[in-house]
């Protein structure tokens, strides 16, 4: 999929709000080391992660999505949106989608609302879908949310994955605008390789293998990832996708002011940035404080970078993601002038969750 400058309609999607939410409960490496056969040094060397936030037992994906969505709408200056797209791998229920409930709880009943499933690439896919709703004239304002509660599908005793994944939600608001405005979304690159669909899975719980406890194993009911192979494919696909989207826009890595990749682990981010020829200080590293939050990681990193003024108006921003499917995707945008945003881990005295 591409959106070349020559084929771009006059009406494009413009980012006009950003917000993120991390659950209150923050878990450090020492706490995990106490129950898993690992230690802080091992976790930090392998993943770069120092903390991750975990949802409370009563919190579901929609709760985090609503909190992030509310913040993004507030940041955009108006609570209105006529479409809500939620990217998630951990919907509240297998049926229905999570987005209609999120829309209703945000006072957006009546809005078009649906989920996108592209695992850790979900947000970039959802951003493309949201942009498509705008360019096709279906919607004028779209709330795009990435939200995941991986702690519900990762086995807490799984030493490989329990240290890496965290819960959270991030969101952006898109509005109709022009290609030369700050905030305008530029070219996209999206792709997949289903030949490797078994590399990142929750084996049970779908139509192939229903999650009947008497017919499925503990392992089949939890998230599984073939780490080394995933690492290889992630490095190759993310680098190639980032280059593709830059080529489509006639840009080079020197034009990129901020690189905000899916926050899988610090090793992948650093290696992809090095392979692209990007200085390390241009790469968002929210993963250190939030772990891998799946579809939420890119909008959370955008929110955190915006809150810390690392993203400045006019910055050329490159988003690149990779996830189960396998799927990958990239998008270029210019950063708009936005009101200050709270850091995702900030919790004000809220009257409602």
């Amino acid at each position: 999929m591409s959106a070349t400058p020559a084929g771009r309609p006059d009406r494009v999607a413009v980012l006009c709000g950003v917000g993120g939410h991390l659950p209150r409960h923050r878990v450090g490496n020492d706490e995990l080391a106490a129950r898993l056969d690992t230690d802080d040094a091992w976790i930090r060397t392998r993943t770069g992660i120092r903390f991750r936030h975990l949802a409370a037992p009563h919190e579901a994906t929609s709760d985090l999505a609503v909190a992030a969505g509310r913040r993004a709408l507030a940041n955009s200056g108006t609570a209105r949106a006529d479409a809500v797209v939620v990217a998630t791998t951990t919907p509240d229920r297998s049926c229905p989608a999570t987005a209609p409930l999120v829309a209703a709880r945000l006072g957006l009943s009546g809005a078009a609302a649906f989920d996108i499933g592209a695992v850790c690439t979900g947000f970039v896919y959802a951003l493309a879908a949201g942009a498509g709703l705008i360019t096709s004239g279906v919607a004028d304002r779209v709330l795009v949310i990435g939200a995941d509660v991986y702690s519900r599908i990762v086995d807490p005793a799984d030493r490989q994955n329990a240290v890496v994944f965290g819960d959270g939600a991030g969101a952006v608001v898109l509005r109709a605008g022009h290609a030369d405005e700050p905030g305008a979304l530029g070219s996209f690159d999206l792709g997949s390789d289903g030949d490797h669909e078994d590399m990142i899975t929750v084996a049970a719980g779908g139509s192939r293998l229903p999650a009947d406890p008497s017919r499925t194993s503990h392992t089949e009911r939890h998230f599984a990832m073939r780490g080394k192979e995933v690492y290889r494919h992630a490095l190759i696909r993310m680098t190639a996708s980032a280059r593709t989207v830059l080529d489509r826009s006639g840009l080079t890595v020197d034009d990129v002011d901020r690189f905000v990749p899916h926050q899988a682990n610090l090793r992948i981010l650093r290696t992809v940035a090095t392979d692209l020829g990007l200085p390390a200080d241009r790469c968002a590293t929210h993963v250190e404080r939030a772990g891998n939050t799946g579809a939420a990681s890119i909008p959370l990193a955008l929110t955190d970078d915006h809150a810390n003024r690392l993203l400045r108006p006019g910055h050329q921003v490159l988003l690149t993601a990779f996830g189960g499917g396998l799927t990958w995707g990239s998008c270029l945008l210019t950063w708009p002038e936005l009101p200050p945003a709270a850091a995702p881990a900030h919790h004000e005295q809220e009257s409602s969750p």
């Binding site: 392998r46 080394k228 192979e229 690492y231 490095l235």
Partner: protein, 78 residues
């Protein structure tokens, strides 16, 4: 030391921080304290720069650098 070995060491020095005199033909990846993710990066770089595919299953911690160069040369000759 062969040209392939020199190229392998050049790849290793960009990916792994260790004193130059630690990179010896008889040194294993375990000796150099190179972890499994760096091994994946080494394999990708070998493919990119030398045009040879070395599987993750072949690049094991107790393989020596000399043996890796021989493996690459055998692939190049095939």
């Amino acid at each position: 030391m062969t040209a392939t070995y020199e190229q392998l060491v050049s790849i290793l020095t960009t990916l792994h921080d260790a004193p130059a005199d630690h990179f010896r033909p008889e040194a294993t990846y375990a000796d150099l304290d190179i972890d499994s993710l760096t091994m994946v990066e080494i394999s990708i770089h070998i493919e990119r720069h030398l045009g040879v595919t070395v599987e993750d299953s072949e690049l094991v911690p107790d393989l020596t650098l000399g043996a890796t160069a021989e493996l690459i040369d055998a692939r190049l000759a095939a």
